[in-house]
Amino acid sequence: MSEKKYSKKHEWVLLNGESATVGISKHATEMLGDIVFVELPEKGKSLNKDEKAAVVESTKAASDVFTPVSGEILENNQPIVDDPSNVNKDPENNGWFFKIKIKNKSEMDSLMSPSDYEKFKKDNPN
């Protein structure tokens, strides 16, 4: 297992061999509030880095979730579709969104380490 990386749009990516798990950060869930709807990409779908991959909705508004890395969707996390509050409960573990077969590992280099992300959050409070 490698280190978790973060995007500027508050997604996290955890690389595991040739695939990666993607979700949204705890900070993102705190900004969104109670999540009441999740739409995930279908298995087999190919997506480019920074392309729209999923939708989350709070009671207030809908937001897009982008994939921080290019690849093909291997699996999506049905339990968060059935009960979206699972994302708020455990955003960076059980609340993952999808697993993606990575096309280009070097894309990971453009993402932030946990400590860089901490700093990024402080510099960009909203």
Partner: protein, 362 residues
């Protein structure tokens, strides 16, 4: 940006503020919208609605006739301390604002929407006889206490409020101050609205909080009113929609529906007689999809037949809920319709309103 007298109180409770109608208002507190919503339904919540206008009109025998020109109520029917829901109407019959009017000893008290209040006063003053006095009471705050435990909590602070029936009010004593309380609200729950001097409001609200009422922000206020099937000005109501289209015929008094005599009467008379071409409905999506304001509504034969005006997830009904306007011939309850969300059509049904059953004390 204006602030209510409770701004710092909210801040200390961990409120997240948003600009709303020129005021910095709490959208939510630490608990978040869903918990705040549930607390109101199961226990009690308090809402700072001091941004709303409290307009006092001192009465004389001319003021009622003047107000009847612009508000389609039968003023002779409104008893002292009785409240009524109605509207300010424009020349075409469109809604300038929706409001609650209460007859008090000295005249009338009208609660107006924050975003509309300045224009409302212009419209009202145009109708009033020159010797009628009116005043927007900026020295008063307005607190709503809503939920099944509201009566128990408020009675422990203000003696006698439990006698009040729904849509009735009266003056009460709070620590030597005269405050006006009505049994009303906008959440589908039993509750009260308390009009209290800015100088006392923090003391008073702190007592509500000490007795267990939770602070509730605008976010949960919206999910609560939507579940209760209640209109929000600027969404379900505006200057181009009349009360018949809004399915609020009941808020025009019987005598006024027969005799007219208010602005826009010709259009309203026509719609009362011939029916309306579009009407406000409740919409319940079949899945979990949330249809937001602006979502287009289609028939099963793919004809565009309407639009959503408010939509969210209803925590108490545990499903998405929405309201919108639809061509009348498609408005039958349980009629299957389709909502276009992010390019895809999703099944929904026309639902009866409210989505959540009210429990008012009659």
């Amino acid at each position: 940006m204006e602030k209510t007298a409770l701004y710092n109180f909210h801040k200390n409770l961990g409120a997240k503020f948003v600009p709303f109608a020129g005021y910095e208002m709490p959208i939510q507190y630490k608990d978040g919208i869903v918990k705040e919503h549930i607390s109101t339904r199961l226990y009690a919540g308090f809402f700072d609605v001091s941004h709303m206008g409290q307009l006092f009109i001192s009465g004389n025998k001319f003021s009622e006739d003047s107000l009847e020109k612009i508000i389609p109520l039968d003023f002779k029917e409104i008893k002292k301390n009785q409240s009524k829901y109605s509207f300010l109407i424009n020349d075409e019959g469109g809604v300038i604002d929706d409001l609650i009017i209460t007859r008090v000893e000295e005249g009338f008290n009208i609660i107006l929407n924050a975003a509309c209040k300045d224009n409302d006063i212009k419209e009202i003053s145009k109708c009033l006889n020159s010797d009628c006095k009116y005043e927007l009471r900026k020295d008063l705050s307005l607190i709503a206490l809503q939920g099944p435990k509201s009566e128990f909590i408020l009675e422990s602070i203000v003696n006698g409020v439990k006698q009040l029936k729904f849509m009735n009010g009266g003056y009460f004593d709070f620590k030597g101050n005269k405050i006006y309380i009505t049994r009303s609200g906008y959440t589908g729950e039993d509750g009260f609205e308390i009009s209290i001097p800015n100088t006392n409001v923090e003391n008073f609200t702190k007592l509500l909080s000490d007795k267990g009422a939770k602070p509730i922000g605008l976010g949960a206020r919206d999910t609560l009113r939507l579940e209760a099937g209640l209109c929000l000005y600027g969404h379900e109501l505006n200057q181009n929609i009349n009360p018949i289209q809004a399915n609020l015929k009941w808020a025009i008094s019987k005598r006024r529906r027969e005799e007219g005599g208010f602005k826009g009467w010709e259009n309203i008379k026509k719609d009362l007689k011939n029916g309306v071409s579009k009407i406000r409905i409740g919409v319940k999506p079949s899945g979990r999809i949330i249809a937001r304001e602006g979502t287009k509504i289609f028939s099963s034969s793919n004809e565009e037949i309407g639009v959503i005006t408010s939509g969210t997830f209803g925590p108490s009904v545990n499903s998405p809920v929405a309201m919108g306007y639809i061509k009348s011939k498609f408005s039958e309850i349980n009629n299957k319709i389709f909502l276009e969300v992010r390019g895809k059509k999703h099944e929904a049904v026309v639902s009866k309103l409210p989505f959540y059953k009210k429990s008012y004390v009659k």
